[in-house]
């Protein structure tokens, strides 16, 4: 590969920047967060994944193959777009979008999925399973499975299947089996439970292609590393575009993979603020929200110690968000750790604020964002007004809004 090939992934790009203790310890812990709280039956599988990943991430052949897929299949590097008309509502601060919505399949999820699908091949496994909320991770997984010839089963809450019917059809067209989950709240958390049940039963031939930076070790590390490319590119591109680093980076947080993906390359840049925006749903005081870091408490969910929406006896409280992709009562342990160390700041954005930003970006810039990403956009508008007209804010536009048109039609009476 030559320099003119453009972006070439290196082991360093994948491995973290070696600051702020950014790799988990021997037990998969970021500070007190993370670890493994899973049935013993799954420990060997997690060990196997961790061992194979440790080899893969320093294997030049693996990195080249991943890089090749990112460039020739996913459409990387994704561009930056400055949005001055949108930014007029942000007190004149400069707002620059990282366009993950322009990737193949329409969301940042493709990055992690291609990496893990290649890892699945290395593991000698022939079947992948995945959970999905909005359906973006499911579509991305079904896409990678089709590309690499893997059998694919997607677990999706029955409620989510209904509100994201278009993505269900896409997954089926891509050859995946979509299993609606009718247990519990019938959303993302229940889809994860069901995927774990499948994994423990079929673990000998199956890789659980986990979709976010939550779950037991090593998933938070692996998913982060594969999503890390977003920030690695954006940091370089911001220097080219503006001659300096942004004052702040903004991203939506559900499980937290797109946010970690863009934050991580900036963790060592102490002057760069990192802002995560969770879903406040109908408003924090309504109790109908998914603001885990803002309102939750420390507990264990889906195999990991992190912030959880739970009652005083440890029962998970159902979350709510207009955006299926943020509708999750847990969050990745590295975010919990960034919050507690003060390196990251987390806020909550209501459904109404997100939908306003959704419409505003469409009207002012001709870009229809995912409702998930719209939480980060709404956050950037507030942040811009706080930081003032001299500030530059980098926003991760994590996905496009095509999948959300049903919700938008209902919400705006279109």
């Amino acid at each position: 590969m030559t320099a003119t090939d453009g972006f070439v992934l290196t082991a360093a790009d994948l491995a973290g920047n070696g600051v702020h203790g950014d790799d988990p310890d021997l037990y998969g812990k970021f500070g007190i967060f993370g670890g493994r709280y899973v049935p013993e039956a799954l420990i060997p599988a997690l060990d196997e994944v961790a061992a194979e990943y440790a080899k893969a991430k320093v294997d030049v052949a693996f990195l080249r193959e991943f890089d090749h897929l990112l460039r020739t299949y996913a459409g990387r590097p994704t561009t930056l777009t400055e949005v001055p008309r949108f930014a007029e509502q942000a007190g004149g601060a400069r707002i620059v979008l990282k366009r993950e919505d322009l990737t193949h399949t329409g969301a940042h999820k493709i990055n992690n999925v291609l990496g893990q699908a290649l890892l699945t091949k290395r593991l000698g496994k022939t079947r992948v399973i995945a959970e999905t909320g909005a359906g973006q991770h499911g579509v991305a997984t079904a896409t990678a499975a089709a590309l690499l010839g893997l059998e694919c089963v997607i677990y999706m809450g029955a409620v989510d299947c209904e509100r994201q019917a278009l993505n269900v059809a896409r997954m089926k067209l891509l050859g995946a089996t979509v299993v609606p989950v009718h247990n519990g709240s019938q959303t993302l958390k229940d889809a994860i439970n069901e995927a774990f049940r499948d994994w423990v039963t079929n673990v000998d031939r199956t890789h659980y292609l986990f979709g976010t930076v939550a779950g037991p070790h090593p998933f938070p590390e692996i998913v982060r590393d594969f999503a890390r490319i977003i920030g690695v590119e954006a940091r370089r591109q911001m220097l080219e575009l503006t001659g300096r680093l942004p004052d702040a980076v903004a991203a939506a947080v559900g499980g937290g993979s797109n946010a970690i993906g863009i934050f991580h390359a900036f963790i060592g840049d102490e002057a760069v603020q990192l802002h995560g925006y969770e879903a406040a749903g109908h408003g924090i005081s309504s109790g109908r929200h998914a603001a885990t870091l803002t309102e939750g408490s420390v507990g264990v969910l889906h195999g990991s110690r992190t912030y959880v929406l739970q009652d005083e006896e440890g029962q998970t409280i159902d979350s709510h968000s207009i955006s299926a992709g943020l509708d999750y009562p847990g969050v990745g342990p590295e975010h919990a750790w960034l919050k507690d160390t003060g390196r990251g700041t987390y806020h909550a954005i209501t459904d109404a604020e997100a939908m306003d930003a959704f419409a505003l970006l469409a009207r002012t810039e001709g870009i229809i964002p995912a409702i998930e990403s719209s939480h980060a956009l709404a956050g950037a508008l507030k942040l811009g007004r706080e930081l003032g007209p001299e500030a530059t804010i980098l926003v991760n536009l994590s996905g496009r809004g095509d999948k959300d048109m049903g919700t938008a039609m209902k919400y705006f009476n279109l």
Partner: protein, 264 residues
């Protein structure tokens, strides 16, 4: 309080395996749960595991998920779990709580251990608490004088079996198969070899659970294990019964069948 040690001593003296029955607290109702567990003891269960209903039971199959869901809808709280333990322990059976880790973590490890001991509980089974994370819970349990049971699985390496067994007191729970809870047509052949492998690392009794649903299966497992654990099959009887009284009768019949099995 009847201890696990005394249960296994007695079973050994009678040259049979111990019978362990599982039922979630608050199922089919708060009082009905105590009545059903009591029926299980009267039919021959030596140990009762009272499940602590949890919102995200990711290692349970449909039968236990259904029972736990109903129990949560009945409003079951930790105080009800403790009251259930108290009622069941009064029958003279060694009474354990089986729970996912987060409820104990959130409630407070010392508080939970203390209250369980006070209710007459003999210990806990915590399927998603790994040896690496179990230190504080083992300390609190030891201080309260209750046992800690953990699981080994067919996929466990020798190293993991040793690490898990070292954390156990009372007995080691051998999961017979790779999968979730629920009765199966046959007991997995992996179970016997897992029991053998586990015995190489511990002198504690080894009990087999997951997939045991008939007296014949109980007899087969009793041929190589120190205890036979039955959960979903009892729950199935209650779910399929037209009312609680009929459920009790069905539980009693299955308990008797299992009790004959472990004595065969």
């Amino acid at each position: 309080m009847t201890t696990l040690a005394s249960v296994f001593d007695k079973a050994r003296a009678e040259k049979r395996a111990a019978l362990v029955g599982y039922l979630p607290a608050g199922f089919p109702s708060k009082d009905g749960g105590v009545a059903a567990a009591t029926a299980m003891v009267e039919a021959g269960c030596d140990v009762i595991e009272i499940g602590l209903p949890y919102s995200d039971p990711l290692m349970d199959g449909p039968t236990i998920q259904d029972a736990v869901h109903r129990s949560l809808l009945n409003g079951t709280r930790i105080a009800d779990v403790m009251r259930t333990v108290e009622g069941v322990a009064a029958t003279g059976a060694a009474t354990l709580v089986m729970t996912y880790w987060n409820p104990i973590d959130r409630y407070g490890v010392e508080r939970f251990a203390r209250e369980l001991a006070a209710a007459g509980g003999a210990g806990t089974i915590t399927p998603d608490l790994t040896p690496e994370e179990s230190g504080p819970w083992r300390e609190a349990s030891a201080a309260a004088g209750i046992d800690t049971v953990f699981l080994v699985a067919p996929s466990s390496t020798e190293e993991r079996i040793r690490a898990v067994a070292e954390c156990c007191t009372g007995f080691v729970y051998a999961a017979s198969l790779m999968g979730v809870t629920g009765a199966r047509e046959t007991v997995s052949s992996a179970a016997e070899s897992l029991v053998k492998r586990t015995r190489a690392h511990t002198d504690l009794p080894v009990c087999v659970g997951l997939g045991v649903g008939t007296g014949a299966q109980a007899a087969e497992v009793a041929g190589y294990a120190d205890g036979v654990i039955v959960g979903s099959a009892f729950i199935r009887r209650i779910l399929d019964a037209p009312d609680e009284a009929a459920g009790l009768l069905a539980v009693r019949e299955l308990g008797a069948e299992m009790a004959r099995g472990v004595r065969a």
